[in-house]
Symmetry: C2
């Protein structure tokens, strides 16, 4: 990790731990440089990272302010993080419906951009927050990138397994959202009625070399789907 | 505009005009510096802006690649832009249902962060894409920032009016999404049935000094709501 990324994380932690709310003013560049024992230049870069990530905003000639405007229970879609990290304070669990190694179906092969036959892990699971079902997820992982997966891993945080155990560096993601209707099976998992609406998110995750390695289609319970997006005019 | 923002716009235009698709490699730093007659340092900064905006990604030791993975009709929520800009190629129109100057209701005052009585413009409109109704929008604009609005402006692009005529510099936005149910009036506007699902987006727009000046609640027709979000792991 770069030194300024490290400092950015520390400042972010400082904001969280002190529950600094929107509009709170951060110390000056000089004060921050003294506190974290780094150069002003490192602080400038760290603040750029935090601004890009929607944590702070800088006003010329005035200072640096906390941007965060969070609503409890709303998930930030611009964060590339697993749900376990986002829902730190909640009790999350997953029930694995199916887990198998298959040849990638053609639509998945196209999305994951390969032309030869490639093996993928297919996983279908229902995810629960505080024992309430909140989504049904179907996910495909390229086996050349994720060589091993089992039910135990899939019933916990696949994201943690990828990043911490397999040391996979997830660089960015593309999400496509629309409203759908649940079929009978999905409605059963989510304890809803057939044809009830769902918020459907297709997501594609990419490695640091730009290669897509995971495609998922997640259908969210209409009452549990609460998402937050930060827009920026850079 | 900074020189590197200007170059970033030019490179972005180059990508669009040449229909460069995902994974296309851009010229080297040196070649770009020669093409745009600027220093390599300016190109480095321009590429950073484009990377932050999800236009490109850079792979260490390899080069710069086009990231864009767009699906026709999906609107990028991370862009702070008006619909008229996003739907450039479509015929957009709006019908103004109501436009009035009022004291801000208390929930709006709280969201726009003021304690004294302040006047706002309240606008309710139905928006159409190629004559199909795609959303019902209720919007509040702080009168101290937007001193004048009329039905003619509101029936066209309010965003263009704010940025081009009033020269308002919109810095960032917060969006909160969830699924809702249409009431009878809204269903009528959207040519749907009462209680049909809608995708509801609450949005707050901020000035460059961090001040929120606009709050909107938009209810999208469930078949027209197609959104795209780019996630980044900076």
């Amino acid at each position: 990790m770069n030194k300024y990324h490290d400092v950015a994380n520390k400042i972010n932690l400082f904001i969280q731990e002190n529950n600094l709310t929107r509009g709170s003013k951060l110390p000056t560049l000089t004060e921050l440089a003294n506190t974290y024992e780094v150069s002003k230049n490192t602080i400038i870069k760290a603040l750029e990272v935090l601004e890009t990530n929607g944590v702070i905003y800088q006003v010329r000639g005035s200072g640096t302010y906390v941007r965060g405007r969070h609503r409890k229970g709303f998930v930030n879609l611009t964060d590339v993080q697993g749900f376990h990290s986002i829902f730190r304070e909640f009790n999350l669990s997953s029930k694995v419906i199916e887990l198998k190694e298959i040849e990638a179906p053609s639509n998945v092969a196209e999305i994951l951009e390969f032309t030869d036959q490639e093996k993928v892990y297919y996983i279908k699971r229902v995810r629960y927050i505080e024992s309430r079902p909140f989504c049904v997820e179907e996910s495909y992982y390229l086996k050349t990138i994720v060589p091993y997966l089992n039910e135990e891993i899939a019933s916990q945080s696949i994201f943690n397994y990828l990043t911490e155990d397999l040391k996979i560096n997830i660089r960015f993601s593309d999400l496509f959202m629309r409203i759908g209707k649940l079929n009978q099976e999905e409605a059963g998992y989510l304890e809803l009625e057939t044809h009830d609406p769902s918020l459907n998110i297709e997501s594609i995750y990419y490695l640091s070399n730009g290669r897509p390695f995971n495609y998922s289609l997640i259908k969210y319970h209409h009452e549990e789907a609460q998402f937050f997006v930060q827009g920026n005019n850079f």
